[in-house]
């Protein structure tokens, strides 16, 4: 087995879904069954990526890189030979990610066969899924920021196409547009961040940039620019991973078909932001990390408070996704690299399961999404219920599930972070969210599956899903069990995933720009005295945070579950009365903190107003000046015409006229009679004498 084999297979993994897209798009009309090609294609891609993961992790400790010159500028003045490289890099993280993406993608393809049955654009749908998978895999295996950006935008496109898949509905096409535009806001920041790095390092390749940073070269020679670059690239993640304040697109994205929500808007694409952060983790300064941690904490808190009161099954899951993504971002910001990625993986499985489960319910309920119309479905749909429940236990952090492991590690990480840096707000947010998560998830389960059916008609028609839809649920819920990740159900540390597959890389930013616990060799003497290095200081803090974090999160999770049962199952607490007793808070949560309304009133109205104003300015002022000068030119020429006619020509004519007049007048005097002349002479003489009075 050679590296080039891995690279070749990875390239195949990347391009096979694109092939599927093209084939299904162009032949879909003629051969409606061609979508099966896409599904088979994805199965092949999945098998190949499992092979790549095993081979990579088993046989190649280092990362495998292949790159080529995409653009060659030749010998550029000032910089010498300049090329832009594209390429792929397979390391452990991307190898694992390949399997996660392709597994979920394949299962969603399966599920969609049943879910989308009867849709008028059935084959088109599968083509788009292929396009999405291709774009997502590009993000996973890129070895440089430019290609990351390229595929970043391409997942944006496929997300746009799939959110607005039912474009006859205005809400759907609105949501697609909103998703694309909100993401672009983040992308602009990311793009500028990339520009900062390129302007200084003249390469887009991660490894080359990091090598130069490690040798002490700072962007524009300043620490602030390095922090800025980190935060700006993070803006891309804020958009894609729906972080506050750009989270508003994700709940709306639920307008897309539910399997799409599972694949793109829960498990993979939205996690791309976190994946980006993992890729750039080593270049984040302490300031940048703090910004990231706070953003993640605020996001997870805001989203969780909104999820408490939503009544649309998909909206609850959407806000829960935002909240969990906030968790991961917060974890990266607080240095818990490993658990951020671990949670990304476990969350991908259980959240995909939850979404597909909700899809199963929605399908059975004839596109009813309001949980107030559901209830008692566990009898009708036992398999959906069981898988949904397992995933709910996982997201709530109940032991024996994968979610417990990753969430516990993640929260321990924030606790250690709070302990080491004094930023206690981060773990406080983290644990509060754990309480809320358990509560709203069980509220969802109870309202949907327990109790008595609220809409008997729809309940009567509900039925358990067929094999193609049930199989993915079973697989995904099985992956929400601890055993796949570690033999020890209460600690991930012993497991292969956390102990050997993924390792936190060494930061490349100057020592004094890192958090103290991430510094390595500045305090050598101190380290020698205490017999620990500073990265071990972090390990130590993690260890001591492990049990407090576990008990705290277990306690809070249990409390959340208990509250949900008290309110919705046993009705010991009247939830409506409780809501009314704090009506302003309830409304605030129900209306999603009025953030959409705020944006509409400010950014959107402002931009459109400015656009209208400038259009007026363009037509009245600028074009007014143009037309005005034309008018002026015409006016001047008319005036010159008039001047010409009346003054210049007038003078000419007047001269002519005058001489004529004189001629005419004086002709009268030339009568030819001597007597008349004599009279004139005498008359003139008298006049002259009167005038000059010589006497």
């Amino acid at each position: 087995m050679t590296e080039s084999l891995i690279i070749n297979i990875a390239t195949m993994i990347l391009f096979l879904p694109l092939l599927g897209f093209a084939v299904v798009l162009f032949f879909g009309k003629k051969y409606p069954k061609i979508y099966l090609f896409e599904v088979a294609d994805m199965l092949l891609v999945l098998l190949l990526s499992i092979f790549v993961m095993i081979a990579k992790i088993g046989y190649f400790p280092g990362s495998i890189v292949y790159s080529f010159n995409w653009i060659d500028f030749g010998n550029v003045p000032f910089f010498g030979n300049t090329v832009i490289e594209l390429g792929i890099e397979i390391d452990n993280v991307s190898a694992i990610m390949l399997v996660v993406v392709n597994l979920i993608s394949f299962l969603v393809h399966m599920f969609s066969i049943g879910y989308m049955k009867g849709d008028s654009r059935y084959t088109r749908y599968f083509a788009y899924l292929g396009l999405f998978t291709f774009s997502m895999l590009g993000i996973v295996i890129t070895h440089n920021l430019l290609m990351m950006y390229i595929f970043w935008e391409l997942v944006g496109l496929s997300s746009y196409l799939l959110i607005g898949f039912w474009y006859e509905k205005k809400s759907a096409s609105d949501a697609g547009k909103k998703a694309f535009l909100v993401n672009r806001v983040g992308d602009i920041g990311m793009f500028i961040g990339i520009l900062i790095l390129y302007a200084n390092y003249h390469t887009f390749t991660f490894a080359d940039i990091y090598a130069q940073m490690q040798s002490g070269i700072l962007p524009f020679g300043s620490e602030a620019w390095l922090t800025a670059a980190g935060i700006l690239i993070f803006m891309g993640a804020v958009g894609k991973s729906a972080q506050f304040p750009l989270h508003v697109w994700l709940p709306d994205a639920m307008e897309g078909p539910t399997p799409v929500s599972a694949l793109i808007h829960a498990a993979t694409m939205v996690a791309a932001g976190v994946y980006l952060l993992i890729k750039i983790f080593v270049m984040l300064t302490a300031d940048a990390m703090l910004v990231i941690a706070v953003t993640g904490a605020v996001t997870s808190f805001v989203a969780a408070t909104i999820a408490l009161t939503q009544n649309d099954i998909k909206k609850v899951l959407a806000y829960s996704t935002v909240s969990q993504l906030g968790y991961m971002v917060m974890a990266v910001g607080s240095g818990a690299y490993l658990f951020a990625f671990f949670h990304l993986v476990t969350h991908a499985f259980f959240k995909a399961c939850l979404f597909l489960g909700s899809g199963s319910v929605i399908h059975a309920m004839h596109h009813e999404q309001d949980i107030r119309a559901m209830g008692g479905l566990r009898k009708k749909m036992p398999l959906t219920y069981m898988t949904f429940l397992i995933s709910t236990l996982a997201i709530s952090g109940v032991p024996l599930t994968s979610g417990f492991l990753s969430k516990d590690g993640l929260l321990a990480g924030t606790l250690a972070f709070g302990n080491l840096t004094g930023h206690w707000l981060i773990p406080i947010f983290g644990f509060t969210v754990a309480l809320m998560t358990a509560f709203y998830m069980f509220r969802l389960v109870i309202k949907t599956f327990h109790g008595k059916p609220r809409d008997m008609h729809k309940y009567e028609h509900a039925h358990e899903s067929t094999f193609v839809m049930a199989m993915p649920l079973v697989v995904l819920s099985a992956l929400s069990i601890f055993i796949w990740y570690t033999p020890n159900p209460i600690s991930a540390d012993a497991g292969w995933f956390a102990s050997s597959w993924v390792q936190t890389p060494e930061s490349v930013v100057p020592q004094d720009l890192r958090f103290e616990f991430m510094q390595t060799d500045t305090h050598e003497t101190a380290a020698a005295e205490h017999h620990i290095t500073h990265s071990e200081m972090y390990t130590e803090a993690m260890h001591s945070a492990h049990y407090p974090a576990m008990f705290l999160s277990l306690g809070l999770g249990g409390l959340g579950i208990l509250l949900a049962f008290m309110m919705y199952q046993w009705k010991k607490i009247n939830s409506w009365k409780l809501a009314m007793s704090m009506k302003p808070l309830y409304n605030f949560s129900l209306n999603k903190w009025y953030i959409d309304e705020l944006y509409h009133a400010t950014v959107i109205a402002g931009t459109l107003g400015l656009a209208k104003m400038l259009t007026w300015f363009d037509q009245k002022i600028i074009d007014g000046i143009v037309n005005g000068s034309a008018w002026l030119a015409k006016f001047v020429s008319k005036m010159s015409d008039l001047f010409d006619t009346f003054v210049v020509d007038g003078l000419v004519n007047f001269t002519a006229f005058f001489s004529g007049f004189i001629g005419l007048t004086f002709r009268r005097f030339q009568t030819g009679k001597v007597q008349t002349y004599l009279v004139f002479v005498i008359f003139s003489l008298i006049v002259l004498l009167v005038i000059f009075r010589p006497f």
Partner: protein, 533 residues
Amino acid sequence: MDGFPILSLLTFLPVLGMIIILFLPKEQSNTIKYTTLVITSLQVVFAVILLGNYNYGAGGIFEQSSFQFIEKFRWIEITGISWIGTVKVDYFMGVDGISVPMVLLTAIISFIATLSSWNIKSQLKGYFALFLLLDTGMMGVFVSLDFFLFYIFWELMLLPMYFLIGIWGGPRKEYAAIKFFIYTLFGSIFILLVMIGLYFSATETIASGERVFTFNMLALMDQTNYSPDGILSPFNPENMRLVAYIALFVGFAIKIPMFPFHTWLPDAHVEAPTPISVILAGVLLKMGTYGILRISYPMFPDITRDLMWYIALFGMVNIIYGALVALAQKDFKKLIAYSSISHMGYVLLGMASLSTTGIAGAVFQMFNHGTITAMLFLIVGVIYDRTHTRGINDFGGLANQMPVYTGFVTVAFFAAIGLPSLSGFVSEALVFVGAFGQESIRVLTMISTLGILLGAAYMLWTLQRIFFGTLPEKWNKLLDIDKREYAMFIPLTIIIIFLGIYPSAMLDIMNTSVNTLVDYVAVSFQNMQLSGF
């Protein structure tokens, strides 16, 4: 290819076609159309042959020996004029990496525009004769290396354009045509003045050994040819180079069009028939930016460097202003016209960077804007032909009625938005990379990135209003595109996708020349100045 006058052939082939058409009887409309089609197809073939024989390694810009396919002979020579001596004008043509993309673009767009002209109903003979004359004018501008010749082609293209808009245009055609004509002529006067100023400032040695005033662009770029007392000579301490530069820039800027000289464009586009809009957006606008790169930059490197920030500023204003005004348009064609203004701003911004990435991005953007915007105007034309309306809000739900058309629209719109894997992305990205690297215009560049958000906003909003939602009753008989329209869209789509994935195909043509230009403007000339020439 030695000695074969391929550039003259490319330039005057359409005139040949025009003559044939003038001899054809009016009634034979099909013969007239097919003659034009054959001529423009041949032009594409010759452009491809030119590309096939083009040496990618030669720089051009200021050095005659590294220009290719040169044709040079004395065109006008009058000796013994009192204080001037000999007046001579050369017929001087040649191409380098900056003109070849434009030659290709002109050939392709003329061909596509011919296909799009199939629907012209009235006075076919006159239309196609003028159309071909326009083609000659455009091609001539991009291959001329003598300022006098350049100016003739520049003006030559005005006349047919005036009639093509004024006769075959929409309801306000007279207003639009005269506005276009006078505005451009206004700019031409500035160019003419600077041309004469340059003429009397520099001399070159002719075969007889005599030093004579010259219109030769390459001689005008060589600062050693300037006499110390010439009004535009860098040696003259009281020179008027700054004023001349601005005048020349305004002359070219009107064509781009650059804010605030842009208002002729929306009017011209709205009134012009579809193929003329396609040519206007596809080729004509590039003549402005091409002129700046070909003439202003190498002839005035010192002033260019001084005014770099202002060029970037106007680029930024074009990007943002054009996009914001486009956002408020309700007429589909006007929206595309303003988006075109916005996208030409990227060209200005890239040029202002004075870096290889930025200028290569700018020239690439000129080509991409040519293909993408041409496609957008074709798209407007398709829907206007069928419905005779362009109001964005008159439509809705066309996606189900015209699925293939919608597919092409989606490609073109996303290309305009700058989606990676389509050509527009690469050029815009290179513009930003180049401009960001230049410290003095970094802030302007950062503001300009807002353009990619606004661009997405107006494009996606338009896509939604026209193609999504429910179909109004009255449009349920609209037909999807026919074979001829396929033939217009497919080549452009292929180019857009191909250059998005493999941009080197175009960038490699221009890289050597762009490097030469950057080196000449930013390095060599400065060294010359430092060493007192």
